[in-house]
Every structure is written in C-alpha cells, then in structure tokens.
Subunit: 339 residues, 2 copies
DNA sequence: GTGAAAGCGCTAACAT
DNA sequence: ATGTTAGCGCTTTCAC
C-alpha cells in the first residue's frame, strides 16, 4: 500500500544514523558539507517528505486550525473561509473546515474531535441550535486558543470579530421606513444567537426613531436559521396570516433572505406590490434577482482574515493571554431599487 | 497552555500501568470489572480523549480523507461536499477540504501536503489550470487511494464519478435550437478539463443533429473557469463583437453561468431579446433570477456520496485494487421560460 | 561530525 | 489480570 519513505529509509540506504540524516535535512552547521549533500540529493531523489503526524506528536502542535461554520454553501461563510485561508496559508497553517448544519450535536462532535489534539486553535461561528456553550467553555478554560467570528458566545472571554449588526439592521429597517412601510416584520434565526439579538436591537431602534410601534407578533424566529424550507415557509405564512398584514420584512440572515424570497415567490406574494423586503446577505448574485433585493453586506473576507490573525497570535503567544478584544466591522447597505 | 490528559496521567493517578488503562478503556475482556469501572469513571471525570495524532502515527492511518475542489463557494461543489461528509462521517472518517481557486500551484501544494501522511485517501476534482497531473500520477502509483469526481484525469487509472456531461450539454443546446436559435455560441472553462471536452462534444452533437454548422469562433474558453470577472467579460465581448453575432450562448460551468449573466446585465445585453442563454448550474436560487436561466443540473450530492463510498472501499481494501469503474450519473435539464 | 538513546501518546506482543 | 517493552517517525540531548 502507500508507504512513504522515512528518515530511517534514507539512513539505511546511506549507511548513516537517523539523527545525522535529520540534521542534514534541516541544515544544521554541525554536519559536514559532503554528508549534507549526499543526504539532500538522496532525499530529493526519493521525494522524501517528513511525516507531519510524527512531527505533530513530537512538537505537540499540528500547525493547523479548525474552522466551525454552519455550512460552506453560505455566501457569508464561504467568503469568510477565503479570508481565513489567505492568512492561514501565508503563516504556514492548514485549515480544517467543519460544518454544523446548524445542529448543536454536530457542532459539539466536530469541535470535540478537532480539539482533541488535531488543531492548535479554533475559529468558531456558533450553530443556530447552540445555546449551551459549556463544552466550549471548558476547552477554553483548559487553554485551547479560540476566536469567535460572526456568531459569538457572550460568556466566553476571548477575541471576537463581528459586524456592526445593530447598525446594519438599523439601516436596513430605516430604508424600508423611508420607502413608506409602516408595518415592518422581522424574520430572524434562533433567538439566542448573538447576531439575532443584535440585529433585532437595530431593528427596534429604527422603529423607535421613526415613531413606529414595536409589535412582537411581527418578529418570527427560525430556530434552524432557515435550514429547512418549511421552517421559513411557516414563518412567512404566519406573518401573512396576521390581521394587520406586514407591508415589509427585514430579514436577519443570508440563508434566510434567499429562502424568504423563494417562499414569497412560491406563495405568489409579489415584491414590492404586496410586500417590501430587505435582508442580510453576502450573495454575489443579488444583482441578478428580480425583484431586486436591497441587502446588508458584511465584510466577510476581512472578518475571516482578522479572526485568523488574532487566533495565530494567541496560538503562538509564549504567555497566557488575558486581554481580549471585540472587533466590530462596518456593514454596508447595498440599495437595489426597481425601475 | 492546552495540555490534554493522557493515558499516563490516568495511569499515574490510579496507580496502574498505561497498558492496563488502555485496555480498560477499550473494553478488553482481560481486565477485571472493578479496574475497568475505576478507569472509565476517572477518564470520564477528567474528560479524557485519546490523542488521534498518536493513534495515526501508530496505525499509520488517520481516518481522514482529503478533498480537493476549486472553491467551496460554488454550488456544485458545496453540494458535493455535503454528500461527501454524509458518507464519511457515518463511516468514521473526517473530511479535510482544500480549495485550489483554479490554480495548479495551489492544487499541487494542497495535495502534496495532504498526501504526505495526513490523509488516507483523496477525492479530487482538478483545477481549471491543471493539465499536468504527473505529481498525482506518482502518488497514485505509490499506492495512495484516490477517486476523481467531476473533473477527472484521463491518464490516471482509478474510480471516476462524473455526470453525463455530453448528454447534459446536448440537451441544453437542443433546447436553444428548439427555441429557434441558429447561431449558438459556447462559453466554457479551460480546454483540457475533462468536463470541457465532454460538454463541447455534446454541444457539437446537438448542432450536427439539427443541421447547424459548427463554428470555432463561437467557442470561447476561460482558462480560469471564470474565476475573474474580466475573463468572462472579455469572452462575452469577443462573442458579441463577431460579424455574425451569436443569438444564444450555452455555458459549460456553474461559476461561468452566473458570471456570464452578470456580464450580460452589465453590458446591457438583454435576455431573451438580444440573446438566449442556458448553462450548467447547481445554484438553488436560479428561480429568483430574472430573466430566468434554463439550467443543466448535476446530481452533486449523490456524486459526492458515491465517490466517498468508493474511496473508503479502496482505503479499506486488504489487497491492491486493479479494477476501476467510471460511474456516469444523469443530469437534468431544468427549463425556466419567460412569459 | 556522527551515533545512540530517550521521548511525544498510544497499542500490542510478550512476560509474569 | 496486570506490568514491561518495543515501536510508529521524528527531534534532541548526550556521548564519543
């Protein structure tokens, strides 16, 4: 089967000891130029690669970082991942991506595995289902470096990279208000997610600023972030069944925004005649949509980059770190109007 | 820092030997129930997890498989990845995803690293830039199990999972012909990719069947699969600058299809008035597009599943395998018409 | 300048 | 039923 060559192979072939070969390959001064040359040439010839697993075991670090997101098929996350990779690779780290599909169980299983020695640190964006982060808490307490991005755990003290969700939500809601909408509903992910809380807050602030009443019936939660079509459909149907039907919806997530548009289309509810819509989304194809969707865009790539930089700094720090930052990046409202 | 507990820790704390602890944890018959109980309880208490790196080193396998795709932000690939994961996790394998971004260099670097001991096998979809697969060839010869999906290497003998690209392309082209289009252009990825060749072939067959001439000027290649906006834009502009402007375009890839629609929109070329378009895409939001895009959809999830099953079979095979299959799955034409 | 030996965490002969 | 030892591939003292 697949048996890559080892130091021992080289040593045996050349009649040297493994330690000499090891030193020669890593260019120590205490090796004679001739020996060095012979070893290097032979290693090159047989295409020798050091076994990273043996190295990891020895050095007790794997030079890899684990990423936990809900799914890669999400524009925000795929862009963030690209940002993560760009930094990680330039610093010699490998990136292991895992998906939760918004399930607490999968999140826990993935993280437990990653943590149990195969990664040096974690970049985490919580699943919609997750409300109990005690298992993360305990990993963190035991010293596993982690940085949160987008969906953060409030009760864990570490670096956090988020978008200015409040302001983004405020602007999106304000946009609807300025269009003349009076009964603006809010479709969001699960209630305990940090992003849900912050975006709801921005939504409320906009209502308040413009003297519109806040109506709890207008807020619909999707505990799985719209992972299932039915979830979104039910929420939309409930909204449209209200006595005082909303005349607009502000949607708090990428998957949810797209999902809601599909639902509306299937229910033959027309935009903007029947209802106005705006939502968070990092999709790069929104320009192709009809009707167009005015969206709140997060600097996903940059968020991924910053999170990774901070994580690597934590990993490589010689001393325990106790000072943590919460970095807040600005969103941008991308207005797409008909006509 | 982060120092997870080891067998030795348990052994020391309990006054046992590491081997006894090891056996107790893995429930061998030759351990007394009392000892077993004590060990299990203590392990549970300190939340012991075996070190997978040490296990990998010992067993010379990592129970993980490497995946190489061009990018996760591609509907086809993200769906395929979900299929891959679904099988892999159920069989106890972990999945390491790497992206080439259509670059040969990144592909090679990623694969070299994965191969040098950290994965038991590879699921590969080649980058658009890749024409030389000798480095893969040599890994394969040395016994590293690999399975290709979607974009396959013709000169490497192993399992391959592909869609019926020829038929898919034929149907898409035929659809345009039946709509009355006479001068159908073909926008595709790099010329050496297996999918490009097969889809071009299907396109040609449709033209031939309906007595339309094949015109090489109507075929435009994008060596980076439309990774850059300019690449797609240039191709479209060249097509539209032809003496005999095409009245339709059949597009051979996911990213390219979306990219082309954006370009057409920006160039203010209207669909279907100025031109008709159809293309390969697994996007789940095509229904929201306006104008709508008739698309060829690949069974991505299923392809990922099958590829993974075959790979795991290769990995776990006791004897070298010499019989390889090429599995061809049917595409489906999703007609989306105006009106 | 080079080799022998120990150790990273684990399992599996091989004792006892 | 439990302990001792060797070895997976590598680096790193410590000898010579």
């Amino acid at each position: 089967m697949f048996e890559p060559s080892t130091l021992k192979d080289i040593a045996k072939a050349l009649g040297l000891s493994t330690s000499t070969v090891s030193r020669a390959l890593r260019d120590t001064h205490e090796i004679s130029p001739e020996t060095k040359k012979i070893v290097l040439e032979y290693a090159e010839k047989i295409n020798y690669r050091p076994n990273p697993i043996a190295l990891s075991l020895k050095e007790r670090r794997s030079k890899s970082i684990g990423v936990i997101v809900s799914e890669v098929a999400n524009h925000y996350f795929s862009q963030a991942i690209n940002g993560i990779e760009s930094i990680a690779y330039s610093r010699g780290y490998h990136v292991i991506i895992t998906q939760t599909h918004e399930s607490y169980e999968r999140e826990k299983a993935n993280i437990q595995h990653l943590a149990s020695r195969s990664v040096d640190g974690l970049l985490v964006s919580l699943s919609a289902e997750t409300s109990d982060t005690s298992y993360l808490q305990s990993l963190h307490k035991r010293g596993l470096p982690m940085v949160f991005f987008d969906r953060v755990a409030d009760d864990i003290e570490t670096h956090k990279i988020i978008a200015n969700n409040e302001k983004g939500a405020f602007e999106a809601t304000e946009y609807l208000i300025k269009k003349g909408c009076k009964r603006i509903a809010h479709l969001t992910s699960s209630a305990h997610l940090s992003i849900s809380i912050e975006r709801l807050e921005g939504y409320k602030q906009a209502l308040e600023k413009y003297g519109l009443p806040f109506n709890q019936d207008y807020v619909k939660y999707c505990p799985h972030g719209g992972m299932f079509y039915e979830e979104t459909e039910t929420a939309v149907k409930e909204l449209m069944a209200l006595e005082e039907k909303p005349d607009a919806i502000f949607i708090a997530g990428d998957r949810l925004s797209i999902g809601c548009l599909v639902v509306l289309k299937n229910l033959k509810i027309n935009i903007p005649e029947d209802i106005n819509v705006t939502g968070f989304s990092n999709s790069d194809v929104l320009d192709l949509f009809n009707p167009p969707l005015t969206s709140v865009r997060q600097p996903a790539f940059e968020m991924g980059q910053i999170a990774t930089e901070k994580l690597i700094k934590l990993i490589e720090s010689k001393y325990p770190v106790y000072e943590f930052e919460k970095e807040v990046l600005e969103t941008s409202l991308q207005v797409r109007d008909d006509l």
